[in-house]
């Protein structure tokens, strides 16, 4: 278990998470696009937003992997299945608080339930469990985060 393993796991996990969400997007299971949501916090240019968003999303993925590493180190135990459990908590947090409540508060282009005339949002708010982005969104998001957690946990366990 090392920081480098955490960073490697975070990178691969985020890659899989992002690819999974993108695939679900392509198959019309959800409209969620985390890099896009993150990037539009910095720019209104949609193309540039995606580039910025992917970078921000990967940095977030690395930061979360370091958090996993810190907790594993604190309890002096690591395993892929504990990573899965962390992924579950991580996914639930993302769906119920992070994207649903916290992101709209700091996102300059995202609406909230309090947005009123004459303002108008550029991005619709995610709603509870991000259901505004499609009924499959909670399932897809949770599955992607479970995969992320499992991968980070696996990297932090390897090679022991």
């Amino acid at each position: 278990m090392s920081i480098w393993a955490a960073l490697a796991g975070g990178f691969v996990g985020t890659l899989i998470l992002t690819t999974g969400l993108r695939a679900a997007n392509t198959f019309n299971l959800t409209r969620i696009d985390l890099p896009f949501l993150l990037g539009t916090a910095f720019t209104g240019d949609r193309t540039r937003a995606k580039a910025i968003g992917y970078s921000a999303h990967f940095i977030n993925g690395l930061i979360f992997a370091l958090l996993y590493y810190a907790v594993f180190a604190a309890i002096d135990y690591s395993s892929w299945w504990l990573g899965t459990v962390f992924g579950l908590v991580h996914g639930l947090f993302a769906a119920t608080a992070l994207v649903n409540i916290l992101l709209p508060l700091v996102h300059p282009r995202m609406g909230t339930s309090q947005t009123s005339a004459p303002d108008v949002a550029l991005l619709e708010p995610p709603g509870f469990l991000m259901l505004n982005y499609g009924r499959g969104t909670p399932t897809v998001t949770l599955a992607a985060h479970l995969a992320y957690g499992t991968i980070v946990g696996g990297f932090l366990t390897w090679p022991s």
């Binding site: 019309n28 005339a117 949002a121 550029l122 982005y133």
Partner: protein, 605 residues
């Protein structure tokens, strides 16, 4: 609109005439207020939420908030200039009182309630006895409220919803079994205030009076500023600006979606079954909506709307639903409410079964919308560009199918001419966008080929030499007002012989005075309907584009006079009585007014 006095409002079986309603809103929700001061419709927290007040659909069970003199009176009302703040002046034998109503806008200067209705009552002259009553009925009247006092303030709760009734100098609130009432007397110079702060899934904010007063003033000032920023300088400016303000009330600020109307199930025929829920965003209206935003200088609304359109349609890509929820969802299951309906017009429906229909014109509307957006100098990102190209591909495989048409008929699908014209427009706009390298051009040759095939179909099977007009559908002998959209959206140029023949045929067949019917043929529903106001404005615009400017101006003058005392329009009008029919305020009607005024302004320049 100028102040216009009306006699003491008359209610029939407890229902005000639909023409008597004004609308206030905050970009999230909308209330209808009759000229007797009753709030007969209010859905909270959002425009498409179940209602707190729905007396317009069931005067006994729907719930309402009345506020009026307790002696005979006449009423005059107006919007404060450039705002969506309503002012009603009641004149009695003993004095005059003014009521100012608004759904207040968010304000960072104070802790703002989730939603808030504020009513300011000012004595202008003499002495007037006033009475008020708040009868909250949550969930379309289905759930009675629990009434209690919190910090001395009457509060009605139901599940996750709560509304407080804060009254200052408006008499001591009295409880009845299901309402809170009060009586007071205004004198010259006195000022009372009643506020209804509302909370959904959060604790209620009980605001002090000073903050309510300040928010009401802030709301008026904010609306005035928004109006001052509008760029329209053409003819019928007052009507266009009021239409813009009405349209702005239908913009759902949290997402950028634009609702077709603010209400549900107001009847297209008194006592009839044509009662629909319009609190969704229709792709059908998208091109007119974006065009109006651009012409009025509403760039943020235009961009937000296009972003929302592309997000909402992503789940169903490349297919388009006829309508989407304001939150971007696709589910709109239709159900019937146990309400008696406006003057007995039942069923009262929420949700809309048209959502699942195939409407080919929507594809043309979407491509036209994107095209208008780019011609105004905006860019499309790669994802949106790819999806638009895929939609054009989809049209190539779909346009030969019969559909429900723009009017969403519930009879068997047909090859509606307007649908085919819009398919042509979809492919034509895709070719133009591809030619400007704004969308991928890989399949441009196929789009070109299919565009010609659509044109051949329309010109051989959907045109009657005998009538010198396009027909409602392939092989039909009827005309349809939607054919005017072929001209308005650019299927053919205005000097095209067939197109001008179609305009004349619509005028001769469907027009009576300023009124234009949508069609005269069957649509799978019993009963009839009034004249469809948007079609009248489309005809005025079509006449202007065909160079018949004097006729266009004359018709437009008549149509502008058809609005109610505060300049609002519903979906339809009964030509015999002038009564409003259908949901209101109707976005499509106001959009058509804006578009026609702009086109006639250009033609007369």
């Amino acid at each position: 609109m100028s102040d216009s006095a009306v006699a003491a409002p008359v209610r029939t079986d407890g229902y005000a005439a639909l023409r008597d309603y004004a609308v206030i809103g905050d970009g999230r929700s909308v209330a209808l207020i009759a000229c007797d001061g009753a709030v007969d419709w209010l859905s909270w927290p959002d425009l498409d939420s179940p209602t707190l007040f729905a007396a317009v659909l069931d005067q006994a069970r729907g719930g309402r908030f009345t506020l009026r003199p307790e002696v005979p009176y006449t009423a005059a009302r107006r919007y404060l200039p450039g705002t969506n703040v309503l002012e009603t002046t009641f004149t009695t034998a003993g004095g005059t009182v003014r009521v100012t109503d608004a759904l207040t806008l968010s304000d960072t200067a104070s802790l703002t309630p989730g939603r808030e209705l504020v009513r300011r009552i000012e004595g202008l002259a003499g002495s007037v006895p006033m009475g008020w009553s708040v009868q909250p009925r949550f969930a379309y009247g289905a759930r009675a409220p629990h009434l209690a006092r919190r910090a001395g303030v009457p509060v009605a709760t139901c599940g996750a919803e709560a509304v407080a009734i804060c009254a200052w100098h408006a008499g001591q609130p009295q409880y009845t079994a299901d309402s809170v009432t009060g009586h007071f007397r205004t004198e010259s110079g006195t000022r009372a205030l009643i506020a209804l702060p509302y909370a959904y899934q959060e604790p209620l904010v009980l605001p002090p009076r000073a903050e309510c007063e300040a928010r009401l003033d802030h709301t008026a000032a904010t609306w005035r500023q928004w109006s001052d920023d509008r760029t329209y300088t053409g003819p019928w400016r007052e009507a266009v600006l009021r239409s813009a303000l009405a349209l702005k009330l239908l913009v759902f600020a949290p997402s950028g979606a634009v609702a077709a109307a603010a209400t549900c199930s107001l009847p297209e025929e008194l006592g009839g079954e044509r009662n629909w829920d319009y609190r969704f965003s229709w792709i059908r209206d998208s091109a007119f909506t974006l065009d109006a935003f651009l012409k009025l200088g509403c760039a943020p609304e235009a961009t937000s709307y296009l972003w929302w359109l592309m997000h909402a349609s992503q789940l169903t890509h490349p297919r388009l639903h006829v309508l989407y929820r304001l939150s971007g969802g696709t589910r709109a299951p239709e159900r019937t409410l146990p309400l008696s309906g406006y003057r007995g017009s039942s069923p009262v429906r929420v949700g809309n079964a048209a959502a699942g229909q195939l409407q080919l014109d929507t594809y043309g509307e979407l491509l036209q919308t994107a095209w208008l957006y780019t011609t105004a100098g905006h860019r499309l990102d790669a994802d949106v560009a790819r999806r638009l190209a895929e939609i054009a591909d989809f049209i190539c495989t779909t346009w030969r199918q019969p559909d429900a048409g723009i009017w969403e008929v519930r009879s068997a699908p047909e090859h509606f001419t307007q649908s085919k014209m819009m398919c042509w427009i979809a492919l034509d706009r895709a070719l133009d966008l591809a030619g400007r390298q704004l969308i991928p051009a890989r399949h441009a040759a196929r789009w070109h080929e299919e565009r010609q095939a659509v044109a051949d179909f329309v010109e051989t099977r959907c045109f009657s030499e005998r009538m010198n007009s396009h027909t409602r559908s392939a092989g039909s002998d009827d005309v349809d007002a939607s054919l005017l959209l072929g001209l308005l959206h650019g299927y053919r140029p205005s000097d095209d012989r067939r197109m001008s023949g179609t305009v004349s045929a619509v005028q001769e067949t469907l027009r009576a005075g300023p009124y234009v019917n949508r069609y005269l043929g069957p649509d799978g529903l019993s009963g009839s309907e009034g004249a469809f106001l948007a079609c009248s404005f489309w005809l005025a615009e079509a006449l202007a584009r065909c160079g018949r400017t004097e006729e266009a101006v004359s018709l437009m003058d008549q149509l502008v006079a058809l609005g109610n005392d505060v300049g609002l329009y519903s979906e339809e009008i009964d030509p015999a009585s002038g009564a409003f029919l259908g949901n209101l305020p109707q976005g499509l009607t106001h959009l058509a007014l804006i578009s026609a005024a702009c086109a006639i302004g250009e033609a007369t320049r």
